[in-house]
Symmetry: C2
Subunit: 111 residues, 2 copies
DNA sequence: CTGAAGGTTCGATGACGGTCGTACTATGAA
DNA sequence: TTCATAGTACGACCGTCATCGAACCTTCAG
C-alpha cells in the first residue's frame, strides 16, 4: 500500500524510429560492446549486467550499456538490485534490416 | 620505350582475409565515408576522387579514401592524373556477409 | 618547357570517447 | 536497523581521429 520511499528505478528507451544509423554503427563499432551483444545473443534471453565477461571495469561497462540502450540495441529493466539486459532483435531488424545479424555473424566467425 | 622517370603510381590493397570486422565497422561508422560508399553504389562502377559530393576538403577526403581502402571496402587505381574508385562488393560479401548491403540500404533509406 | 589540374603529404588543432577510481544510491537479506 | 550486493554518477585523464591549409608531386595539354 505504502508508496516506496523513492520512485522505482525505471529505464528510458528510445523508439527505434528515433535511432539513427550513425548511432547504431557507432554502438556496434566498439569491441567491448560487440562482446556484450554476442554474449547476449548466445544467452538467447536476458542477462544481468554483472554476468558479462569483459576486460573493463564496472563503471566502464555501465557506460557501454548506456550507449547500446540509446542506440536501440538492447532493452534494460530492473529486477531487485539486478539489471537485466536483452536484445531488441525484432525492432532492430525492422529498423536496420540485416545489420545486427551481419555484425553478430561476423563477430562470432572471428572469435 | 623509355622507362618513365619515376615509377608509375600504384596503390596497395589488403586481402579481405586480413581485414578485421573492427576495421570494416570503423570505416562504415563515419558519415562522410558512408556518403562515399553510397555514391559509389549509385554510380554502379568507377568514380573519380574529385567527383564525390561531400562537405569536407580534398585532403580530408584523401584520408577517408585511405581508410576505406585499408578496410577493404574500396579499390583504387590511377588513370592519368585521375584516381578511380570502386567498391569491392563481392569480396566484402564473402568476408562479411550482408554487412555492406545492410549499411547501404539503411543509409539510403535515411537519406 | 611551362602551366594547370588532380591528389597527396605533413603538421597542427580541436573534439570526442573509452577508461578508471571513488563516492554514491537502491534493493534485499540477516 | 544494519550490512552486503548490484549498479550508477561524476570527474579526470589520455589517446585517437576528423579536419584544415599549405606545400608538394604527378600527369597531361599547349
Amino acid at each position: 500500500m505504502a508508496r516506496p520511499r523513492t520512485t522505482p528505478r525505471t529505464v528510458e528507451h528510445p523508439e527505434l524510429s528515433e535511432v539513427t544509423l550513425q548511432q547504431a554503427l557507432e554502438a556496434l563499432a566498439d569491441p567491448v560492446r560487440r562482446m556484450v551483444v554476442c554474449q547476449l545473443t548466445q544467452a538467447g534471453g536476458e542477462k544481468g549486467c554483472g554476468t558479462f565477461d569483459t576486460p573493463v571495469s564496472d563503471s566502464t561497462l555501465t557506460h557501454h550499456f548506456n550507449v547500446l540502450r540509446e542506440a536501440g540495441v538492447i532493452r534494460q529493466h530492473y529486477r531487485g538490485t539486478t539489471k537485466l539486459n536483452s536484445l531488441r532483435t525484432e525492432e532492430m531488424e525492422a529498423r536496420f534490416p540485416g545489420l545486427l545479424p551481419a555484425v553478430v555473424t561476423a563477430a562470432d566467425a572471428e572469435a
